[in-house]
Symmetry: C2
Subunit: 554 residues, 2 copies
């Protein structure tokens, strides 16, 4: 029962120091088993006052927050209580070292959980930090199947920052159409887009103007849609663990009149920097410190604004921070946030995020392989898709796109693309760079933000830049090999590039995809396979579909 104090104190463990990792995975004296029993069901609820069928866990959306301590084993028994639909749940940010079958990625790491059946997820939370979980099947995440995971430090170990209270802020966007209808539209010829959300949710609560609800049931006094209120004690410091489960939107979050100090993202300590408002992309988590240092006799807006896409959703106006008494809402209008199309503003925030001093673990200085993924919209068999390399026809996916001849600032001359098997086979323990090169979609003068999420790993964010990535000069001039942040989700900005690096040291198959629900649904994802020969006997419970029918056992 060795206590691995040094790596624990470092706050995070990089994937390739396997000796330390193994040490870490030895149960600490204090390690506990945290057991949860969940039932996933459809429920009629009114998250934004308009009644709609949601997918809930034990009757709630967001679902219960998993509270654990570094080194604990989390066991979640998920009973599928849906009538005709299967499900699967992904533990976003948990690397599943040694338990790749618990990653919850339907079609990649497991067959779906059938109605009436129970699947047991079991994994170790090996690092402290703020994580999330959500359905990874169809578009069920968008129907409400998501929640938070908070992993605290072991007893006696402190965070490198101080706060008085710890609060959870889960951000989301919300549609009134069912996810089935959204998915059917996305699959249709002609293509039917989901459009902008009808409301934005903070901790599962939003506000829709019932006068526009038509024949739908909508009640603006329903307690389910009463605004989320964060009551604060004057002078105290709050750690807000902010996460975005957005299906589509990039968000800017602001608390009127209060600065925020960014201290953590995706389970990694950030060299602190102060912002007036925070850009956050789907799949990301941030911890920010907020001091309740403003005049305590009034309330302040907590404003959630859409950025990167032209907003067409009413802002979440009823939310506000408040003192323990309940004075009237803020006397001012909610903050409008930055200009929605100010890409440079968001790029600058991305560039500010570096690993905290004392918690830096530098990346390998060289790489074994560079894969360039062109982010662009295409057409496959008449369907609109988010493809990754414009056109290709190999059965194995390509390493790059035709840099010399492809103009990322224009629509592709020929938007027709084809499928590949989308599986990249990585040499075990090799270092891999991914260049995410953004481009124009099929709409003129339009390039979108894509938050890319990697399963089973954290990656170093080597750099971001505008325009076309220059493979000769950009690594030399723009890569940060000194103190790059590690993350599991990172955005590529419109018409820009983002470079990441990771070590393929976690045996398994791991999805890497845009975390926008509709983009992933439209094909924007690949799979990395690494060291599968090192994965032991697979549990029978993940089998039973496709080619694994005959492998399912109790």
């Amino acid at each position: 029962m060795a206590r691995c104090r040094v790596p624990l104190l470092s706050g995070w463990i990089t994937p390739f120091i396997m000796g330390f990792l193994l040490c870490m995975s030895i149960p600490l004296a204090s390690a506990k088993v945290r057991r949860y029993r969940w039932e996933v069901t459809y429920e009629l609820q009114s998250p934004d006052c308009l009644e709609k069928l949601v997918i809930a866990i034990n009757g709630r959306t967001p679902g219960p927050t998993i509270m654990a301590q570094q080194g604990d084993t989390v066991i979640v028994e998920v009973k599928n209580g849906l009538l005709t639909e299967n499900t699967a749940i992904h533990w976003h940010g948990i690397r599943q070292i040694g338990t790749p079958w618990s990653d919850g990625t339907e079609g990649v790491t497991q067959c779906p959980i059938l109605p009436g059946e129970t699947f047991i997820y079991k994994f170790v939370v090996d690092r402290p930090g703020t994580y999330i979980y959500h359905a990874h099947y169809g578009m069920q995440r968008s129907a409400g199947l998501y929640g938070s995971i908070h992993v605290s430090l072991p007893d006696g170990i402190s965070e490198p920052f101080a706060y008085d209270y710890d609060r959870n802020i889960v951000l989301n966007d919300w549609w009134h159409k069912t996810t089935h209808e959204q998915a059917a539209g996305l699959s249709s010829i002609p293509f039917v887009w989901v459009k902008e959300p009808q409301s934005l949710l903070i901790n599962g609560r939003g506000w829709f103007n019932c006068s526009q609800a038509g024949t739908a049931v909508c009640n603006s006094t329903n307690p389910q849609c009463s605004p989320f209120v964060l009551t604060v004690v004057p002078g105290k410091t709050y750690r807000l663990r902010i996460s975005s489960l957005a299906s589509l939107s990039a968000f800017n979050f602001e608390i009127e009149g209060h600065n925020m100090t960014v201290v953590e993202t995706d389970g990694h300590y950030v060299e602190p920097f102060v912002v007036k408002n925070l850009n956050i992309y789907s799949g990301e988590t941030y911890s920010v410190l907020v001091v309740a240092d403003q005049e305590p006799s009034r309330n302040y807006w907590a404003a959630l604004n859409v950025v990167s896409r032209k907003p067409d959703t009413p802002p979440v106006s009823p939310s506000s921070t408040t003192t323990p008494t309940t004075p009237p809402p803020s006397p001012t209008a909610p903050p409008a946030g930055p200009l929605w199309n100010d890409t440079e503003y968001r790029l600058n925030q991305s560039l500010k995020i570096r690993a905290r001093r004392g918690y830096v673990y530098p990346p390998p200085t060289t790489t074994d392989r560079v894969i360039t993924l062109l982010n662009t919209q295409n057409r496959i068999d008449g369907h609109t898709r988010w493809a990754l390399h414009h056109t290709f026809s190999q059965s194995a996916p390509p390493e790059t796109y035709d840099r010399a001849n492809y103009d990322i600032f224009k629509q592709a001359a020929n938007p027709n693309a084809t499928y590949s098997d989308a599986v990249y086979r990585l040499k075990f323990n090799s270092t891999v760079d991914i260049i995410l090169q953004n481009a124009n979609s099929m709409v003129p003068n339009n390039s979108e933000t894509h938050p890319w999420h990697l399963h089973g790993h954290d990656f170093w964010v080597l750099g971001h830049g505008p325009g076309v990535f220059d493979p000769v000069n950009d690594p030399l001039r723009k890569y940060n090999l000194v103190d790059p942040i590690m993350k599991n989700t990172v955005a590529v900005h419109p018409y820009g590039w983002t470079a990441i690096r990771f070590v393929a040291d976690n045996p398994g198959v791991w999805a890497f995809h845009c975390h926008i629900e509709s983009h992933f649904f439209m094909g924007m994802g690949i799979v990395f396979e690494e060291g599968v020969e090192r994965v032991g006997r697979l549990p029978a419970a993940i089998m039973g579909c496709g080619d694994s029918h005959h492998l399912r056992r109790h």
Copy 2:
């Protein structure tokens, strides 16, 4: 390749003349294989002008009509193209002799078909007649997954009635809420009822007043909801094959100014009788002969009216019969049909239905077992359910209810009930009578019509009567043992009883349930198990869920 002319000429085969049956199941010289390849998908369609997600087969609802000849083998490859939902399809009226695993009853005869997977149904259509198919999973039938099966006589054999043209008429009711939302409401505490349908469909087309559509997409000129028009040639005789796939409603169907001669029901020839309008319950099929003998210069309404429940749905007004030219709609108002609450009118039609002379096969004169099923609403763990025996707590289901002390005309004093395993184990080849005893629901002065459907068999309809069944006198005075019709679906009328008899000679497990989608969903069904030791090796394709995970093989 013996031709079994005598039983063929008799028009139907009773289940217990196994010698004949075996003879029948030998492929006739003309027997063909009819192969269908279907993909089940969600589609945005507008069956009643209001756009809604439907479950379609090859893009259509109703799905393709299966056209086969007696003795043919039908093979349907069903690919599940839904995103997250499983499916299963039941071939309603096909007894599946020797192929119980092809009955398509999810949870009884097979595991569901997973998204992306293909299940192959293969069965012999051993009798001529009019049948239907539909999803037998969740409430997917109500979402549009249904169609018709027409089995013609072998070459050289004629029906015992003449007609010039053969036309299909599929009746249904239609809701704008999704079936997921309906199901969630039915499962909720408090209970949320589905209420009356928003429209009625003839051959998948209805009409909803778009001015009441709120924010929903609704276009009254959408060709998908153009009225169904049956164009007729003056003087000719039409065989209309009328079937009801209703989720809730009992229907009365009438063609303005035209009599109908009832000649077939559920694949059995009826001693012809003439009606002005036809009562038809969910799961039933009828063939009627209609002569286009009215003034040909005008059109005539085909009117579908709801009976048994107080109508709250606009009648299908745009439908009409028409001559080959397209004159304006009928100059008159659509027929209003009989009074919706005239139970006696409907009971009288039920009593008129007898086997056609020359095609009578009398039932066994005695029975080995009588099971009485009290049809009543109960509460189980706070949920509203359609239970079958008021209260009981055995693990095996009971043979009858407490006749002496239960007042069928009142709500139960204690509506609380419990679950049983609902499986009745029948002695192979034994004769079984079922007494369906209707009662008051949990609503005062309310008893509903329940159309009961038996899988794997036809049954003789021994009798119907009002009030409480008298086990001493009613069999003597009210049973028809001379020429009872055989059917697979029969109604029990409000506050009345219906007695049926069948022979448990088809090895397998077979559902017996109310064909109202919400009633079945609320528990109104049981399972008969008979001769399972005679069923050979089960196909691996039906396995893979529940206790059969480990049995699934390719």
